[in-house]
């Protein structure tokens, strides 16, 4: 088994920042900023747009550009990103899988689902599959308790999982 490797912060900037240029995103961002009496308030929705458009994570360049765009310190942007589990300051797989670990799911077999995924993909929870396809994390209560145990794959939700069906779901999606 491999542990989750985080890229050294000094190395992150050397990775390519893929996706549209910031100027190309402005058309989408300006109307969002206009919803708030202060520019700084748009930080969360702006980060969402940039993260989605640029490979699912926030490259140091993205962080710098967002800070400039909203006229807030870069350290503030970094502080916000690290506070919220859904903002990523490290590269992620093409799709992010979140397996719910909280009580309603645990009572119905979430642990066995996580074990099966770890064994099948040879990673620990939080890791990325070797082909770069999935980052598989645990998450706290996803609000899908009526279909426990459950997981989400980006916007898809999958419930009433068994260890087998969880593996099959991830392997069975179109590449």
């Amino acid at each position: 088994m491999t542990t989750t490797k985080r890229v050294d912060p000094a190395e992150l900037a050397k990775l390519p920042c893929t996706g549209p240029s910031f100027d190309d995103l402005r058309g989408k961002l300006d109307p969002i900023v206009a919803r708030y009496p202060q520019r700084a308030a748009a930080l969360l929705p702006v980060l969402w747009v940039v993260q989605r458009a640029r490979a699912g994570w926030l490259h140091p360049k993205s962080i710098r550009e967002v800070a400039e765009y909203l006229a807030v310190p870069q350290a503030h942007v970094e502080g916000v990103i690290t506070f919220y589990t859904m903002f990523k300051d490290q590269p992620v797989g093409r799709d992010v899988v979140v397996v719910c670990k909280t009580l309603s799911c645990r009572l119905r077999g979430a642990q066995e689902v996580m074990d099966a995924l770890e064994d099948h993909f040879g990673i620990d929870m939080g890791g990325t599959t070797k082909d770069g396809r999935y980052t598989i994390e645990t998450g706290e209560c996803l609000g899908l308790c009526d279909m426990a145990p459950c997981m989400t794959i980006d916007e898809e939700r999958h419930g009433n999982l068994t260890p087998e069906s969880a593996v099959k779901t991830l392997e069975g999606r179109p590449r």
Binding site: T3, Y36, W48, Y84, V98, T102, L107, C141, C145, D146
Partner: protein, 451 residues
């Protein structure tokens, strides 16, 4: 008595996976309340909500109409409405039913609430884990704006009102009302010291009213059908219907809308949710979401109506109506460890008793769980919990620490035998069943580290 559902909020709602469109909502009487409300004064709308006695559905149960009256008059500042759809309490998924299935009900409620409190802008905060819900709400808001229910001239009245959807990004603490305000302002979700209360100084230091999604969704029904009709469900303590989520060891995990005065906790578990799975017996139930005290399988805990007052008298809280059911095979040490991991992870870290204390609670429970506990650790856990907080302890800015303490103390109170058995037996049965795997993993990581 067999259990009966009382659909009011979800009357005519499409099944999950489908969103009620504007046309469907209008055909169902939608936006008639707004038409009525625009012909009324703001104070008349507030008085109706006051007269119903509608209590906040986010968990605290504070009377919504009274909250609205706290907005100071003539401050010269704008007034804001913030609708709390951060629904992150473990075991709760009721607001998602409104957000995804009848989003226009929420939009109409938000517009009416704005009208009542003198606001022109509402922000609806929805947790980042609900991307489908966020899309449903954004589509509903766009439809409402195109139809003239939102914008600079609401239904030709000359009154301006806008509703914006604000997406969270994964933080339980943003469901705490002032943490949510910090998040809407673009910051970490840090709760704020009260006073000043948000009604006086909220978003951008302006008066802000914060209501839960389900609370706001009730407003159009009140304005459209009148106070007496709305109060025909529930009782004086808990007027109106309640949306309840049932999960855990039941045959049919589900959400239901009930008349709280006519439905007992036992009926919720055994009639609506089909009873305990695998032919087993009930061991414990958390009635209101993970933060409230757990109840044992006793008639005095179960045969009570699901009203705020009755559940409180039974020793717990109806809270946000997330009923989590545990069967006779459940190790309560394992269940509590799961919750303590949650609270420790979700502590925002501002207050020492919470930041450190939730960690202590997790470590202590983990020690017992993993067979390292001593018999005196059970009492130590109970004492540490008292140090961290408790209902109304007020040691911290917000209630997160108290929310970790309430389950801890009640788990020990009702299920001490499970903790003592884990101490005596070398750990929780869940730990013992997984021990080989846990040891193997540690060993492989140790090897990995050496290379």
């Amino acid at each position: 008595m067999s259990a009966v559902e009382f659909p009011r909020l979800l009357k005519g709602a499409p099944p999950i996976g489908k969103r009620q469109t504007l046309a469907e909502y209008e055909a169902n009487g939608g936006y008639q309340a707004l038409k009525k409300g625009l012909a009324q004064t703001p104070d008349e709308i507030t008085k109706m909500v006051l007269d119903t006695g509608l209590r906040g559905r986010g968990g605290a149960g504070f009377p919504a109409g009274r909250k609205w009256t706290f907005v100071p008059k003539n401050t010269g500042k704008p007034v804001y409405l913030a609708v709390n759809g951060d629904e992150s309490e473990p075991g709760c998924f009721k607001d998602r039913q409104i957000i995804e299935r009848v989003p226009h009900l929420l939009v109409e409620g938000a517009i009416l609430a704005c009208r009542a409190i003198g606001a022109n802008t509402a922000y609806v905060y929805i947790r980042g884990e609900y991307p489908i819900g966020i899309r449903c709400m954004e589509e509903a808001v766009d439809e409402a704006r195109a139809a003239g229910y939102l914008g600079d001239n609401v239904m030709g009245s000359g009154w301006k009102c806008d509703v914006w959807i604000h997406s969270g990004a994964g933080a339980y603490i943003c469901g705490e009302e002032t943490g949510m305000l910090s998040s809407i302002e673009g910051g970490r979700g840090y709760p704020r010291i009260k006073p000043p209360f948000p009604a006086v100084e909220g978003l951008w230091r302006s008066p802000t009213i914060i209501n839960n999604v389900e609370t706001i969704a009730n407003v159009p029904l009140i304005v459209r059908d009148g106070v007496a009709d709305w109060k025909s469900s529930g009782d004086a303590d808990t007027p109106g219907t309640r949306l309840v989520g049932v999960s855990g060891h039941v045959n049919r995990p589900c959400h239901i809308e009930i008349d709280p005065a006519k439905t007992t906790l036992r009926e919720i578990i055994f009639d609506h949710a089909g009873g305990i799975w695998k032919g087993r017996h009930l061991k414990a139930v958390i009635p209101g979401g993970s933060s409230v005290p757990v109840l044992p399988n006793k008639p005095e805990a179960l045969d009570v109506p699901f009203t705020y007052g009755a559940v409180k008298n039974a020793g717990s809280l109806a809270g946000a109506a997330g009923v989590i059911v545990m069967d006779e095979t459940t190790c309560m040490v394992d269940a509590l460890l799961n919750l303590m991991e949650f609270y420790h992870h979700e502590s925002c870290g501002q207050c020492t008793p919470c930041r450190e204390g939730t960690g202590w609670l997790e470590k202590l429970v983990h020690r017992i769980w993993a067979g390292q506990g001593r018999m005196e650790d059970v009492d130590l856990l109970d004492r540490v919990a008292d140090t961290v907080g408790g209902a109304g302890a007020g040691k911290t800015i917000c209630f997160l620490a108290d929310s970790a303490v309430m389950p801890t103390k009640s788990f020990i109170k009702h299920f001490r035998a499970d903790f003592e058995a884990a101490v005596r037996g070398g750990g929780s049965p869940v730990y013992l069943a997984r021990k080989a795997r846990i040891d193997r993993k540690h060993a492989s990581h140790a090897v990995g580290a050496a290379h």
